[in-house]
Symmetry: C3
Amino acid sequence: MGETLEQIKRGRYKDAVIGFRNHWYPAMRSRDIVEEEVKPLTILGEDVLFKRIDGQVYAIRNNCAHRGYRFSEKVECYTRNTITCPVHAFTYNFRNGELVTIPSDPESPLIGQTKVHAYPVEEVNDLVFVFIGDVAPSPLAHDVPPRFLEKNLYVVAAVNVDCDCNWRIAADSGFDPNHVFLHKENDFLKELQIPFPIATRLKNSDTFGEIELIEGDGPKGMTDRLSATEPVYEHSFECDGETGRMASMFPPDGAQGQAAQAFGSIEGSLWMPGVLNVDPWPIPGMTHFEWWVPIDETTHRYFIAWGKWIDEQEEQEAFREEVETKWIHLGYENFNRYDVLLNNGMQAFYADPDRTYGHGQILTRNDGYTIAWHRLATKHNRGIQKRYAGK
Amino acid sequence: MGETLEQIKRGRYKDAVIGFRNHWYPAMRSRDIVEEEVKPLTILGEDVLFKRIDGQVYAIRNNCAHRGYRFSEKVECYTRNTITCPVHAFTYNFRNGELVTIPSDPESPLIGQTKVHAYPVEEVNDLVFVFIGDVAPSPLAHDVPPRFLEKNLYVVAAVNVDCDCNWRIAADSGFDPNHVFLHKENDFLKELQIPFPIATRLKNSDTFGEIELIEGDGPKGMTDRLSATEPVYEHSFECDGETGRMASMFPPDGAQGQAAQAFGSIEGSLWMPGVLNVDPWPIPGMTHFEWWVPIDETTHRYFIAWGKWIDEQEEQEAFREEVETKWIHLGYENFNRYDVLLNNGMQAFYADPDRTYGHGQILTRNDGYTIAWHRLATKHNRGIQKRYAGK
Amino acid sequence: MGETLEQIKRGRYKDAVIGFRNHWYPAMRSRDIVEEEVKPLTILGEDVLFKRIDGQVYAIRNNCAHRGYRFSEKVECYTRNTITCPVHAFTYNFRNGELVTIPSDPESPLIGQTKVHAYPVEEVNDLVFVFIGDVAPSPLAHDVPPRFLEKNLYVVAAVNVDCDCNWRIAADSGFDPNHVFLHKENDFLKELQIPFPIATRLKNSDTFGEIELIEGDGPKGMTDRLSATEPVYEHSFECDGETGRMASMFPPDGAQGQAAQAFGSIEGSLWMPGVLNVDPWPIPGMTHFEWWVPIDETTHRYFIAWGKWIDEQEEQEAFREEVETKWIHLGYENFNRYDVLLNNGMQAFYADPDRTYGHGQILTRNDGYTIAWHRLATKHNRGIQKRYAGK
């Protein structure tokens, strides 16, 4: 309540089961809520109600302050700016959560005093962001990758899909370069004929040397240096007299160095509170953003947005068309959807209450990316989200 | 066990998650169990088995005393008075729960000593009541509204429906006059063209002055005094430059005083362990009873019975016909069913373990009815029901 | 881990919710896994993955040691002997669980050191047995009835079915002679016209005198002595002026003694960790085995295998044909399936956390069989299975 950003207590990554409090998260794509639409969503375990009024999106807690009725069960709006609980007619200003009237007690001292929590909302780059927390919100620019707010970047929010695993499973895999193995058969590679590695090898034994931490005043994050690793396009092994072989679909025949250089020039960066930037991706000239937003203990919402540096409206419209007709199909359906599927296959393991996050795993020196992320998140979060911590 | 009504420990309303122990509750309508029918029901979390034998309904616990088999899974009765567990043939007298025979040990000292719990049952006014508790039962007359047992009242049990919320949500709303708002669009009003208010206003600031407590030897309850409040048929408010207006479907044009007087002459009264009487309702000459009987933590059974003071059998049959063809449709389907729907919309809020009943709400001075009920229930209950407290 | 069979701590039967650790259990019938098939199963709460390689069945834990991915979600085998986690390509030897390679770090010190748990497996008599535990496994012969491994016994594994109750409910009923009551109407009896009793009576008051304990070096078990009891084919009782009568479908008219002698010559024996032998059954010359293998807290897997002492391959094939066309139908569908159905009817009672196993029951002197089994199991188990007690 009176708490400020300076006073909040940070928590450990392993305790952030439903995320970190006091951060900005994408709630939906701009297209997901039209004028006057009222839309309920669970975010970080909180029941939030959104409405678009005169083009602007507002969000309040989805429970009447009086007896807890979920507004979204039966929506009653007597003006565009207000929502009325259908049980006892307590009426709130949707733009700030204040109690406006009670027909049975119009002089009640509660009016203008009592409110339902109103969440700060910002709509930027085709996404509706909401600040889940109590304190005065930090700038949105502190909770997104720096590239996201670059002046002439045009962004299309492409994917918004619920996934059946804890958000941290996805966050841990997204930045880790060795999860490339799971993409080895994706049609995306076939379509673009990209010589995509099945693994990356450390060139020296110091894992963390490949990671650069960004801990200044703005967003907190870390970037990998794929150029400092060696991509692996084929691997053979022996076991009990048999030979096994794993290989990229399109090996970089005769131009291994060139392919490695191209792959090495892709930079991944991971930012608080859980957003990845891959650049360039999926092709030179485009940049890729993805968020894993906690819904509850066992599910999260996955967003993908693609950006391109273009100013002309015509080009922008063409790019939006291209995303919708080509990249959602190729880049998500035939590529990142496999991240979702394989992340879900780890949920049963992490859901075991005796194996709280981070235990029971055997991490290797290649997991420096993941370990560095755990440390960064533990150091720079603004508090652990708890069930019903808020108003 | 050996405990008496005088020795029981009362508990708090907020702890009565599955109800108050040692009270009478309606289990079903008389029509719901025919001769020789065996019927299992969960009531206050207990698994109870009913049978009608020679017209009279009996109830025992639905688990064999030996190894806990649920009799209702495979009913075997070798006489009308007995039930036999199909696993090891332990046979009980359905009328008192006593163990009658064990074929593998007919001389067992357990016979005639061991019993399954037999619940006191009384069938009155078209309803089968059961006493959930251990002590010698109090008179049924202490657990129903006084009007219910009036000599020449003829009662038809009309509605028996399971609802998806805790019983207290329904109990709190039922007596509270301001929940009238939720009925504002019901077809019942359209059909009868009743000028029904959307709210009631206190005439003075003393909420509790409108409530009369009845705490004598008989049933414990409280009555409202709607005549002391002012019904509201229309309400306007301003918010951010817009005006909102809520209004009754049929405003009492030109006869506001008369309508208010008619509405004010309706008396609501609420009784332990959770039964409402509204009189007259739904029309002059009829009286309305409703019960909210806990099933488990998140569901309850809702009964409605309507009475009319008529002695002649012919009139009684006509009234039963009228209830079945008219009032179930109008009075329940098009009126009280909306209480059910909206009560369910508060369940998620109250189910949150961090918001035990009564916390997290902001109650107003209009909630005196609800607060008075909480106090009455806390003062006059005969114990808190716990899971498997009984035999 | 380093623990030996001698050092393990025994536990109480009432705590063995998901079974006893460090014992052999049937996992499936031989026919349930064909060459190169990969099959996941939950056994005693553990997630186990089986594969048949060159005819032999192997089993490993179904989670990658790295980040816990369930191998069975997306099976990748680059050689017949190995399984590869599809996320980061950690590759294990299926025959011993050892980590064989990591493409991103082929020189990792983990290779050859780290392993996923490999479960000892033995395939005997048409069943695949697995040892669930950490210690070096005891001989399979110590965990099956002595008759099961008799040299010229030919065994057909007939039934493998999941049941909706805790394994102990089934174990307690299987050996207890008085549960015969539940079979009284089974078509099996009609088909074979067997004079099957509805109960058995103790001839003297010493229940335990009818049970012989076997506690030598080999399997630990107990046998009943039905010959020392008196079978009951009919039983009448009085209650409130009515007479009830229970009777066998085929009473042994005129030859009661002969039928009793035939029934008395059937010997039941119950063995650790939960396997029953009935001999002869279902007809002279055949012997019956059944296992109740814990899956989780509320379900178990039920196996039936029938044996016959025959050496000739032709006879064995004929017997297998007979089991499949006749005995599965008569002996399971029309007999033992009723055990399953009625056992399930006790689950709700035992699932109640306030009635941990063994409380809330009223056991009689006829329950000596069950009590003796509880004592034997408490004395001779090799530890209590706990969730994720393993590696």
